[in-house]
């Protein structure tokens, strides 16, 4: 019986599937096993698959299985680890010793920048939950719609990959296992922007100028009023970090990419903890919560840092669909 004996270490497993039937077949079985063992389970995938899965389970999931729409809760991949963390913390406090999760962070509609962050997220999962014994997280990958390179990356970020009946431990693909628990992936370079529309060097006296620049450019990109207000708070937060911890000043660049506005703040500081932006602040108001807040206000946040190159934080906000034409002809 699984409950006896020492609890199994954290298990992070990629499951390759094809088509909705393939998903229901594999994931349905995984969730059913959890239900019959009385192991609380959280399923994070899109709304359509959640509905299909619930229909398949036919009420057996009551009280044991929770669901969250990944396209909402995990639209920004940096919000997914906090979601698992919340689930694990809450259920462990309630006495659960074994937990199951189904998380599908990558789907065919993800943009290139989102994909980069999704793989980064998958790698960070290994670090974030390394000590959480009894947690079994399965990440379904739809090989019917995803490109081969995406699936290859998934094999590298998961210690265990199941394809059909065959399971492959990470050793076969990744002899050193280095990528599985990232140490310095924060130093990976980001793509250079195509055409920067605004730049500003700032110090503590120019934060207000930076905020109005972001608001103006946000409006020109077609952001809604609420998105502008959120982006301004986010950019100000990162720029304040530059002023207080990143050498007293920084540089801001703004550009458009695929209907989104991107605001980049770079400074001379170094961010050491790769989980810094996804660690929930504890109850005390004095806890650092800048990057945490930024992640929940923006559609996508990319953090890069190295002791040689300083830090770069890119914040993405998606504008109105169909607004790309407003990019000025000037």
């Amino acid at each position: 019986m699984a409950m006896a004996g020492p609890m199994a270490p954290f298990r992070h497993e990629a499951v390759l599937y094809e088509s909705d039937d393939g998903f229901l077949d594999r994931i349905g079985q995984f969730v059913r096993e959890g239900i019959s063992a009385g192991e609380p389970t959280l399923v994070m995938t899109n709304a359509r698959k959640i509905a299909a899965l619930r229909e398949l389970l036919g009420g057996a999931d009551e009280d044991v299985v929770e669901y969250r729409d990944m396209e909402v809760a995990g639209a920004n991949p940096a919000r997914i680890i906090p979601a698992w963390d919340d689930f694990a913390t809450r259920l462990s406090a309630g006495g659960a010793r074994r937990l199951r999760g189904v998380g599908e962070p990558i789907w065919a509609g993800r943009s290139a920048a989102e994909l980069v962050e999704c793989h980064w997220h998958e790698a960070l999962i290994n670090r974030a939950f390394a000590n959480l014994r009894g947690f079994w997280l399965v990440c379904p990958y739809d090989i019917g719609t995803l490109s081969a390179s995406v699936v290859d990356d998934a094999r590298r970020t998961h210690p265990l990959t199941t394809d059909g009946e065959e399971s492959t431990a990470d050793g076969a693909h990744n002899p050193n296992g280095r990528e599985l628990v990232p140490t310095r992936p924060l130093a990976t370079a980001l793509d250079q922007p195509q055409r920067v529309v605004a730049q500003l060097r700032f110090d503590s006296g120019r934060l207000a100028d930076l905020r109005s620049l972001v608001a103006t450019e946000g409006a020109r990109t077609g952001l809604s009023a609420a998105q502008i207000d959120n982006l301004v708070v986010a950019v100000n937060e990162v720029a304040t970090n530059s002023v207080t911890h990143g050498g007293g000043s920084g540089a801001a660049s703004i550009w458009c990419a695929g209907g989104a506005i991107v605001c980049e703040i770079s400074d001379a500081g170094t961010i050491i903890d790769p989980l810094a932006d996804r660690t929930r602040p504890s109850g005390a108001p004095t806890d650092a919560r800048g990057l945490w807040t930024v992640n929940s206000l923006c559609d996508l946040v990319q953090v890069r840092s190295s002791s040689e190159g300083g830090s770069v934080v890119r914040m993405w906000m998606h504008g109105n669909a169909g607004y790309a034409h407003q990019e000025e002809a000037a």
Partner: protein, 335 residues
């Protein structure tokens, strides 16, 4: 009430056009709003606008700046030109028969409260829409004014021809206006208009203008621009101006009113003001409704002050609500 703003007088101290306009009788047209705001402000309102810059270039240092076309014309109906001016301008009287455009928002505090009331993001969306619409309208506005002036100055036998020319121009312009509105329905809705009502307003306004003897063309978004600025002068209060944040202190009942922006530059001043407020016996209300911006560090100071007791936070503005909840502070004393 239906008349446009007509100012007959000598411009004596209007910095924007001092060099551009003739001395002489002119009409100040178009940058006109009629609303409850105008009546509320009254004739004794003193213009305190500190922002002296050429509106045509509008680098927007004023928090409440909104561009609106401003047309000056001679009293004979000859247009002198269109300028981009602050939407909140109206005519002020500086002496006997002397007028100048002044800002109805008055001082910095009224400006900040107006922005906080509307929401800074909404102001930016409206600014952006106005700038884009101006690019469309700029092609038509001078032609419309010229056509109207021709009609007004034409001898009766030639009026029919001029009238037809003006009508045709208005029809073309309305098509452009309609296209613009349809292309931007989502953003227009955010500024508090329904696109349908805006189309109807533009059509009605232009058709009325076509038939009357006015030369000026009123803007189609005056209702929004005219939203009443919250004007509550506080008697016996003490105001501290700390790097973009106005801290107004009232003793009975104990209250701190925060207006403007909280960021790294004034965290110290804010913390000091909150410290001073704490020792009183009755709880101090901290009114946040005038905040145009608050950094997470500012939120932290406010929440900490509330958690340590005797301080109650009220009136978190809607545009800061999602940032407040995203920061996930423990709920304490936040109303």
């Amino acid at each position: 009430m239906g008349d446009p703003l007509k100012v007959h007088g000598v411009y004596t101290r209007y910095h924007v056009w001092r060099s551009k306009l003739y001395r002489g009788t002119v009409r100040l047209l178009a940058a006109h709003r009629r609303s409850a705001a105008d009546d509320a402000i009254g004739e004794d309102h003193i213009d305190q606008c500190r922002f002296q810059y050429a509106f045509d270039h509008a680098p927007v240092p004023c928090a409440a700046f909104q561009s609106l076309p401003f047309i000056a014309a001679t009293s004979y109906g000859k247009p002198l030109g269109t300028h981009i001016a602050h939407a909140h301008l109206r005519a002020g009287e500086s002496g006997r028969n002397q007028f100048y455009p002044r800002c109805v928002l008055g001082g910095n505090r009224e400006r900040l409260r107006w922005v906080a009331n509307v929401g800074p993001g909404t102001v930016e969306v409206a600014r952006s829409l106005q700038a884009e619409f101006e690019r469309v309208a700029a092609r038509y506005r001078p032609r419309l004014i010229a056509a109207k002036a021709t009609l007004l100055n034409a001898p009766p036998p030639r009026r029919g021809q001029s009238r037809d020319a003006l009508a045709a121009l208005i029809r073309d312009f309305l098509v452009e206006v309609d296209t613009f509105i349809n292309r931007n329905t989502a953003r227009i809705s955010q500024t508090g208009f329904s696109p349908e009502s805006l189309t109807a307003m533009a059509t009605r306004g232009l058709l009325e203008w076509q038939g009357d003897r006015r030369l000026d063309l009123r803007s189609i978004d005056q209702e929004w621009i005219g939203q009443t600025p919250p004007s509550d002068e506080l008697a016996g209060s003490e105001v501290l101006d700390a790097c973009g944040l106005l801290i107004t202190r009232m003793d009975i009942p104990p209250e701190l009113r925060l207006t403007g922006q909280i960021d790294q530059a004034n965290l110290g001043a804010l913390a000091a003001a909150l410290d001073d407020a704490r020792p009183t016996g009755t709880p101090t209300m901290i009114d946040l409704s005038g905040l145009t911006f608050c950094s997470v560090g500012g939120m932290r100071i406010l929440v900490e002050a509330a958690a340590s007791g005797n301080i109650q936070l009220v009136g978190i503005p809607p545009h800061l609500a999602s940032a407040f909840s995203a920061a996930e502070f423990p709920a304490a004393g936040v109303a």
